[in-house]
Point group: C2
Chain length 329, copies 2
Amino acid sequence: MPDLYDVAAIGNAIVDVIAPASDAFLQAEGLEKGAMMLVDPAQAESLYSRMAGAVEASGGSAANTIAGVASLGGRGAYMGKVADDQLGQVFAHDMRAIGAFYGTAPLLGGLATARSMINVTPDGERTMCTFLGASTQLGPDDVDPALIESAKILYLEGYLFDPHEARRAFAKAAGLARASGRKIALTLSDAFVVERHRTALLEFVETQVDIVFANESELCALFETSDFDQALAALVSRPLVAAVTRSERGSVVAQAGASHVVDAFPVEKVVDTTGAGDQYAAGFLHALAQGRPLPVCGRLGSLAAAEVISHYGPRPQVSLKDLAASKGL
Amino acid sequence: MPDLYDVAAIGNAIVDVIAPASDAFLQAEGLEKGAMMLVDPAQAESLYSRMAGAVEASGGSAANTIAGVASLGGRGAYMGKVADDQLGQVFAHDMRAIGAFYGTAPLLGGLATARSMINVTPDGERTMCTFLGASTQLGPDDVDPALIESAKILYLEGYLFDPHEARRAFAKAAGLARASGRKIALTLSDAFVVERHRTALLEFVETQVDIVFANESELCALFETSDFDQALAALVSRPLVAAVTRSERGSVVAQAGASHVVDAFPVEKVVDTTGAGDQYAAGFLHALAQGRPLPVCGRLGSLAAAEVISHYGPRPQVSLKDLAASKGL
């Protein structure tokens, strides 16, 4: 198959509901700051009723990354399930409007489109409570072989280890990519996801993955250690590309034992960290698909992340392509 | 009745769909920059399919004003019609979350919740295409007499002159307010609205209104002149409070022949002017309800407007009460 896409991704298709919150609110609601927890419809409704006035914006980790790739001028394709409802229409519109391919059939007459209630504290940190809804109904039939076979890189989110059907979709997609000689990238997504599915994730990393994205806590959770250097060494010893993000301390990118420290781009004020990891992955994967050296991949990831944390919402508000050009990247 | 509310308002209950756009896009779509035009469902779908990736945020002119009053620490109540759909739930949540009273029954099984597609050009100017949907079904039965009789000021938006049933609701509300000795405030809303309903609006201003909000083009449209000073003189000669906004040139507030020029608050960068007039009205009405002098009312209006144009979306993102306190207002 020819290279029609730079990156094809599979993920939970989610609309974000983003509101300001105090640290006291998180505490009163029993929410672990910075984490993602899954909620059922009753918990979702209850939390929503106490949240502040919000804005809605299309989200979903891998979907945000594909939006970022498109904003960088890359060719992105996305697979993920929404319902045939207003928020599902919003999600589909936003994917296509940014220039990504999105063709997954919506779920008819079932669960509502997934929503993630994101409480943003004054320090910009985001804490997420996600109702997975229709996104859990993504199954192997939603995996389009033509998309995967024609994309340089298949990008998968660790969040997909939670819904059962999605894991089957995941396995099918990985098999197709492997069979077509495509690269497979994985983000660990969240430390609690790693704890819930450590064995399966490790097995997947060992046997299938070419490129791993993680932040410090996810990486430490994967290798059951609190020692970051030890966890990093464990990852880097494997024959893969590793990109480990460290918030304001930048990132470490590594391959075949050689690692590079990449600085974060300075940001005037961190408004909302939602989407930081997703946009880092977008910049990294876009540069990687173009055959750029790893430190440049990390640098473009940092730039995309810097843009997204300077405003509310998980996707770029400016053309990342123009932004990158203005920075000589 | 005791004063339970500072301001009770009636308006078109709308969710905004806000996206960046170029001037060329406005031109290609035949949209008049800065204006509000009404679209039918087919036009709405067609425009939406070409708009950029968007964020959704509760809007509606008078609803934004009530949200602003609540953010200032005032007691606000709102009447407006949404559908029993996801965007309707978003609208209701956001009104209550900011501390306003909102009790209008949603429309069941009919038109969808109103949406305004707002294209924001790089200069921050917003151009709106509104599908009125369920909001047109607001009728006299939705006007709660207890709310109007217990609010110091009834606030009405000129936009309500478009839907037929809403005008009957409007008349009922104004009658109730008048009978209870309450003040009636009106915003002219939009120059095209004024042109469509000039005679009815003038008649209403002459016979019922105590406080008029307008911008320059609306005022000139009302008095069929291109001479701002002449239009202003015509308004100020009437026995009412006038507050006329002039974008970056501030506003003019006047009563009984005496007028005051109020400067705009400086804004670092105008991001999105959506809600500027609505938040000006919020600050003005909140101060007026507290019996503050007119120039202070204008000053608080300017401050609230300055906050809202510095970010995407039509409602305050910070506590206007805290902001006002920090400015000694």
